[in-house]
Symmetry: C2
Subunit: 352 residues, 2 copies
DNA sequence: CTGTTAGCGCTTTCAA
DNA sequence: TTGAAAGCGCTAACAG
C-alpha cells in the first residue's frame, strides 16, 4: 500500500482563503481551489481512495496552499473511527507509571493513534472518566485502574474494546495484560531462601490493591512452603514514606528478621533508607531488602535494589496489539496475557 | 414507531432502543422516547437552554433509560468548542514531569476539560503533534517542548490559544509560565558562597536546552560576581548516568573543587552517587552537591538534596488559567508569568 | 476515476 | 417554551 499520513509541512500559508472569516480551510475550499469535487479531496486523503495521480497532485498542491487539514471530529463522526484511545491511570506519580505512560504514548503514536489521558486521584472516580471516554467515541480503552464488574460489563455491552493493565478482571472475563506477580514474587523469595535467609518480614500494599495482595500472598505462600510461618507484615500505601514507616514499625515490634520483602520498589527504597538512617544498619550485611517493579530509581547507586523487573515495553506493546485487534474485530473473545518479570540481583540483598 | 425494548442486563440501561443495530442512543432516540423534539433534548443538556421543568424531567428520565450521552464529536463539530486541551511534553520520564503531568491532569479535569497527550521522544517531531492538535480542534495547547518561531506563529495565525511551560518564547511573544531559573540558580549559588565555598564545578544540561543554559549562565554569572572564574563545566543530558559521568569527568580533569552545581536534580543524584561510590567522598563533608527542581526523589533519605523547588501547583494552575482566558478571548495579549522557586536546604551541601 | 447525494449527531437561529 | 430546518466538515455508497 502506498503512503498514508499526508502531513502538511510547516511553512504554513494559513487560512489563505477560507470562505468564512478566519476559519480553517475545509475540503470544500480545497476542492474549489483545485477545481475538483469535494469527495475527490476526501478520497485523496483516505488510505486507499482511488485518485488519478494527476488529480492527486493538484489536490495536494491546493491543500498545501490553503494549509488544509482534515477535521478529525467530522471524520470520526461519520466514519465511527476516531483513532483515539482512552488511557486511564490511577496513580501517575507512582514511580513505575511514568515509564508505562511514556511507552504507551510512544507506541500509540507509532500506530497513528492519539491518547486521551485520564489520571485518577484516589482510585475512585473512574466513572467520570468512563463517561468522557464514551462521549468522545474513543476506539478503545487501556485501563490501569480498578474496574468493577458493572463497569466491565458496560464495555462489553457497548462493544467497546478494553484492555486492563496490571489489574484483575473481576468476575467478567476481560482482556488484560499483566506482569505475573505470583511467579515473580515467588522467585525473588526463593532467591533469598537459597541465600540462606530464614527470618523474614513483609511490607505489603493497601488491602484493596489486588496486585499488592497477590504479591503478599505469593511471598507468604512460598515462605510457608519452606516451613517459615508467622512472618510479620505491615501495610504501606506504595509511597516512600510508608515504606520507611513500615520498616520502623516492624523493627519496633519484632527484631528477629533480616530479610524484608516489599511489594514495590518505592516502599523498598523507603525501607532501605530507614534501615540505614534510623537503625544504622548496613545493607545488605545486616539486612536484605527487596522490591518489585524494576523501576529506574531502583538501579541508582545508593540502592541497587534486588527486584523483579516488569517487561514494560512488551507489556505495553501487547496491550496495544490486543486493543487494536479488538477494534477491528469486537467479537474476539477476552484474552489474558501474563508476562514473567525478570529477577534483578541487586546489592540490596545478601545473595551469596 | 414501535419501540422495542431489548432486554438489558440489570444496572445498565445501555442501548435500550437505538434505532439501528447496537448503536448508542442519540438525542433523536431520547426525543422520541420522551415525546418531544430533538432540539428540546439538546437544550435540556445545554448549560442554559430554556426548558420547562416538566419537560426537562421527562427528557432526563428518557435519557437515563436509554443510557444517552451527548456525542462530543458532534458537539465539537458544530459548536467549535471541544473542551479538549492538547498537552505536549518532551520528556515524560524526566523525573520532574510526572508531577507536572499529574497536576495538569487534575486541574484540567476540575475545569471539565480533557487532555489529549503527546509525548515526544527526542525533542524533535513537534510538528507531528501540532498537526494532530489542529486536526482535533482542541481548544488550546499547553506545551512543555521547544517551539520554533514559525510554530508559534502558526498558533497566532490560527488564533489558537497556547501556553508555554518552562520554555522560552522565541522571537514571537508567547504566553508562558515558568519557574525563574535565573533567580533560583543565583540564590542557591549564593547560599553556597555564604557557607564559604569558593571552588566550584558545574554540571550543565544539553547545549540546546534553553532552561539548562539559563541556569548554567546564572550560576556562572553569580560566581563571577563573587570573583570566581574558570569554573569547570561538564554537560549532561539531564539523566542519572550523565550526572554520574559528568562528576567523574570533572574529578579526573580537575581536583580543586568542593561544590558541584547541577542544573537538575536527577544529574545531581547521579553525581552524588558517583562521588560517594567511585571516590569514596563524604557528602557534604568532602563535597557539596546541589540540584534543581525539588522533585520527589531529591528528598529521599539517601540524598536530601539541596535544591530549588519549582512551585508546580501554582505553575500548572496559572498555565490553565491563562489558557482558558484565551479560549474565551483569543485577542488577549501574550503574557509571561514567572514564579520563584523555593530554596530547599538539604543535607547534600555544607551550608554552615 | 469522478461527481452526486445522503447522512453522522449535534447546536442554533427563527417562527410559532 | 417549543419545534422545524439548516448546517458543522466529512465519508460512503452509487451512478456516470
Amino acid at each position: 500500500m502506498a503512503e498514508r499520513k499526508t502531513t502538511v509541512p510547516a511553512g504554513d500559508p494559513i487560512a489563505a482563503a477560507p470562505g468564512r472569516a478566519g476559519r480553517r480551510a475545509t475540503s470544500y475550499d480545497v476542492a474549489r481551489h483545485a477545481g475538483v469535487s469535494q469527495s475527490a479531496v476526501s478520497r485523496c486523503f483516505a488510505p486507499n481512495g482511488s485518485i488519478a495521480p494527476g488529480t492527486r497532485e493538484r489536490i495536494l498542491k491546493a491543500a498545501t496552499e490553503l494549509g488544509y487539514r482534515p477535521n478529525a471530529l467530522a471524520q470520526g463522526l461519520i466514519s465511527r473511527r476516531t483513532n483515539l484511545v482512552g488511557v486511564i491511570i490511577s496513580s501517575l506519580t507512582a514511580l513505575h507509571y511514568p515509564e508505562v505512560l511514556a511507552e504507551l504514548s510512544h507506541r500509540l503514536t507509532e500506530q497513528d493513534l492519539r491518547m486521551l489521558l485520564f489520571s485518577l486521584d484516589a482510585e475512585g472516580n473512574v466513572d467520570e472518566a468512563l463517561d468522557q471516554v464514551w462521549r468522545h467515541s474513543v476506539d478503545g480503552v487501556i485501563c490501569a485502574a480498578h474496574l468493577g464488574d458493572a463497569q466491565i460489563e458496560q464495555f462489553a455491552a457497548h462493544r467497546m474494546p478494553l484492555v486492563l493493565y496490571n489489574r484483575p478482571g473481576g468476575r467478567m472475563p476481560a482482556t488484560s495484560v499483566a506482569c505475573d506477580s505470583v511467579s515473580g514474587q515467588r522467585e525473588i523469595v526463593e532467591r533469598l531462601l537459597a541465600a540462606g535467609h530464614r527470618r523474614f518480614a513483609v511490607v505489603a500494599g493497601p488491602a484493596d490493591s489486588y496486585v499488592g495482595e497477590e504479591r503478599r500472598r505469593a511471598a507468604l505462600g512460598r515462605l510457608e512452603e519452606a516451613g517459615i510461618t508467622d512472618v510479620p507484615v505491615r501495610r504501606g500505601d506504595y509511597g516512600y514514606a510508608s515504606g520507611a514507616g513500615a520498616l520502623v514499625a516492624l523493627m519496633d515490634a519484632h527484631d528477629g528478621f533480616d530479610a524484608v520483602v516489599c511489594v514495590n520498589d518505592l516502599m523498598a527504597i523507603g525501607a532501605l533508607d530507614a534501615a540505614r538512617e534510623q537503625f544504622g544498619l548496613k545493607i545488605p550485611e545486616d539486612m536484605s531488602i527487596v522490591g518489585f517493579d524494576g523501576s529506574d530509581p531502583a538501579s541508582w547507586g545508593s540502592y541497587r535494589l534486588c527486584s523483579v523487573r516488569q517487561p514494560v515495553r512488551r507489556m505495553t506493546q501487547a496491550a496495544i496489539d490486543m486493543l487494536l485487534e479488538r477494534v477491528d474485530n469486537p467479537d474476539l473473545p477476552a484474552e489474558r496475557r501474563l508476562f514473567s518479570g525478570q529477577l534483578i540481583e541487586g546489592r540490596s540483598a545478601r545473595l551469596g
